[in-house]
């Protein structure tokens, strides 16, 4: 199976080299592409210097737009599956293999979850995670143990659908929608690291806005959507 690791990067000059060189040195069986989302720092220069495979977006699109660029690339180059991989060093490449196995078993979407066998801690940070888990359970009947995990692998037919349509951002509400529409989704236990350097995008206001959007979307809006199978 041809696997593409999509690495969306926005102002990740402190982490990008470590993440990509680790991938190249230890996991040469996977292809990768860095999607630079119009970074203002030297993310792009570093990638060009090192000769990485990079797509430079001339303007900032946000994570959804950057990741979709990676999916379009995967679709165009005929990859069998694609995985979203954070540029900040949170995701560990040794788990790609475990996710890939489930795609080979026929699942449409496989999520690298921190809480399949591990217990989810009762912390402020996990409150949102828990609420989204409940909402998805209510809406679809299925338990996703780590709905906010960004480490998700998509099969070929899903890549095409996500790459060519509106409202397919890499967020829990899209996954909830896909489950409702009959896609098969599987959780796989992974470990994640704390981000090694740089700042997280989420602050309190943004977190609240994000939660509001997710809850409304999962519990309400997604019920009215229909799926367009692009083939």
């Amino acid at each position: 199976m041809k696997v593409l690791v999509i690495i969306p990067a926005y102002n990740e000059e402190l982490n990008i080299k470590k993440v990509v060189s680790n991938l190249i040195d230890h996991y040469p069986q996977y292809n990768y592409v860095v999607v630079n989302d119009g970074s203002a720092d030297s993310t792009s220069q570093i990638c060009h210097q090192e000769g990485y495979n990079i797509i430079d977006l001339p303007v900032n699109l946000g994570l959804a737009g950057a990741f979709q660029t990676g999916l379009k690339y995967a679709d165009q180059e005929g990859y069998d599956c694609a995985i979203q991989f954070d540029a900040d060093g949170q995701h560990r490449p040794e788990y790609i293999e475990d996710l890939l196995k489930e795609i080979e078993n026929g699942y449409d979407i496989v999520i690298g979850s921190r809480f399949v066998t591990e217990k989810k801690p009762f912390s402020m940070r996990m409150l949102g995670n828990r609420m989204i888990e409940r909402a998805i359970k209510f809406s679809t009947g299925k338990v996703l143990t780590d709905p906010t995990s960004g480490m998700r692998m998509y099969s070929k037919k899903i890549i095409h659908e996500f790459a060519s349509n509106i409202n397919y951002g890499p967020e829990p509400d899209t996954i909830s929608f896909m489950i409702k529409q009959g896609a098969s989704v599987k959780d796989v236990q992974v470990k994640m690291d704390e981000r090694t350097a740089g700042e997280s995008y989420l602050n309190l206001t943004r977190s609240i806005a994000y939660m509001l959007r997710m809850m409304l979307s999962i519990l309400f809006i997604q019920n009215f959507r229909k799926r367009r199978k692009a083939d």
Binding site: P58, V59, N165, I166, N167, G169, D173, L212, R213, L216, S217, F220, I221, F224, R225, K226, R228
Partner: protein, 119 residues
């Protein structure tokens, strides 16, 4: 607030919410952009169904009719929304400008390289 105003509020809000959902369904509207209108409609329905806080607010602010409070509230929200839309349009215009310039400059570079190769 008359019962008629309340009924109109509920009906219009329901219709506009259905309209928003139709656009999402037809792949015309991004979910991010639909959130505001859904919350706004829900709020108006809430006000129409439970008008008591409006009476209380009207008294507090010395405004004669609670209906006026509703209008004021709607105007405020729409003003803020309009300003935010202006901001977004402004950023979009600039992004388009950057994109067009980038494409044109790339084209220029490509043509020059092609000319060099011919010579």
């Amino acid at each position: 607030m008359s019962i008629y105003l309340r009924i109109i509020l509920v009906v219009i809000s329901m219709l506009s919410m259905m309209n928003v959902m139709k656009r999402v369904r037809r792949f015309k509207l991004q979910i991010e952009n639909s959130i505001f209108w859904i919350i706004f409609s829900l709020l108006l329905i809430l006000v129409a169904v439970f008008p008591d806080p409006m009476f209380w607010l009207a008294e507090l602010l010395g405004i004669q009719s609670p209906a006026n409070i509703v209008f004021l509230f709607v105007i405020f929200i729409l003003l803020i929304k309009t300003f935010n839309l202006t901001l977004e349009i402004s950023q979009l215009q600039y992004k388009i400008q950057e994109l067009v310039q980038k494409i044109a400059l790339d084209e220029n570079k490509k043509n020059k390289e092609a000319d060099k190769e011919e010579k």
